[in-house]
Amino acid sequence: MLKSSIYINGIGAVSPQGVGSGNVFSNSINAPQYEHGFISCIEPNYTDYITPNNIRRMSKLIKTSIVASKLALKDSTTEKPDAIITGTGMGCMEDTEKFLKGIVNDEGSPSSPTAFIHSTHNTISSQVAIALNCTGYNSTYVHRAASFESALADGIIQLQEKDSDTNNILVGGVDEITSTIYDITKKLNFWKKDNKENIPLYTSKTKGAISGEGMVYFSLSNKLAKESYAQISAVKILQKASSDTIADILYDFIKNNGLKVADIDLVVLGNNGDVRYDYYYKEIAKQFEENKITYFKELCGEYFTSSSFGLAFAATKLKSNRGKFRKAILYNQFHGMNHCFYLLSNVEV
């Protein structure tokens, strides 16, 4: 249980479902179209958010992260955050590949400084800070499928510090997919061999997931706002867990927050259709009535920070069901690791 309340007051997203705030998640529909085997984001008109002089150098991941962060701030009517914390599983792969290509072909010869500097993991959070002129706390977590949760945990600790003047924090989960990374991770058996569109993902009996990408920022606060989406009541992160004990872990998580299973009205699960690992979700799903359960990965695909999409999805559902949904659980894991449980509460405004 968190020491004090943490509210999701704003959401900003660039995703395969579109660009915007809560509307992106409440209007989300069936599996989007995808080419080349992976689901790509719908991109905004960047010049609405960034000057042409700045856009020229930026990769998709940097541009979209800046857009998402600005949308989150606008959604929460916060002028400037006190801190910016970003989680990314792989970082800027487009620029990493650009730089690598240069040095693999001609090591030791002059190479592009732009690609190098834009490939550093922390450039995303830094460039968001430059775009927002924010000199507050700034950090970047790169820890696979717990990257977003790590950033979130950091943000929560800061918002809960006594006598601190930190009241509004931007926390983001961002990852991009490129053709090369898709190809390499396909060789590592991350993805389905067969890329049939609109396959029934959640009942899939084959290995691998569908690859995706997304950039979601949250404007979090320790103060409730009129347009708050939901309250984050608890977060639990486990590096490893066995499927034998995952249901017990869930029970303890719910019990330690003073609740019973029946108190949970909405369950959002991160099933990605990978038959090798989706049994974790099955164990969790067994504990709830079927009509309470919903999924999100068909909407955004699988990527290391996809739980940020899941959180926005869950929070938006709570907001549009005030009075009906009181409590929600979100659970996500990747390849049997980085298990993340969220308890969300609806808010009274």
Partner: protein, 84 residues
């Protein structure tokens, strides 16, 4: 010299990925940095790279680059004087 100036303008637009600027929009005596086009230190490094890769001229430090890259004209003069 005119061809070199034109080539340089095209190179600058391409290498620096300038948006909404055509080569002919760049005036040859106009400052490239801070004022004028408003380029920055990363652009200076990209121009150093351009000079080395396309014209075979090495600039040893960012400071040396400052004078060379004042304008398209100073770049062209430098290339003419140093091209092997």
């Amino acid at each position: 010299m005119d061809n070199l100036i034109l080539d340089l303008k095209k190179d600058i637009v391409e290498q620096l990925n300038l948006q909404n600027i055509k080569p002919e929009d760049i005036k040859e005596h106009e400052p490239l940095f801070i004022e004028g086009l408003g380029l920055d230190s990363i652009d200076a490094l990209e121009l150093i790279l351009l000079l080395q890769k396309k014209y075979g001229i090495k600039i040893n430090s960012a400071e040396e680059g400052k004078e060379v890259f004042y304008s398209v004209k100073t770049m062209a003069d430098f290339i003419k004087a140093n091209k092997k």
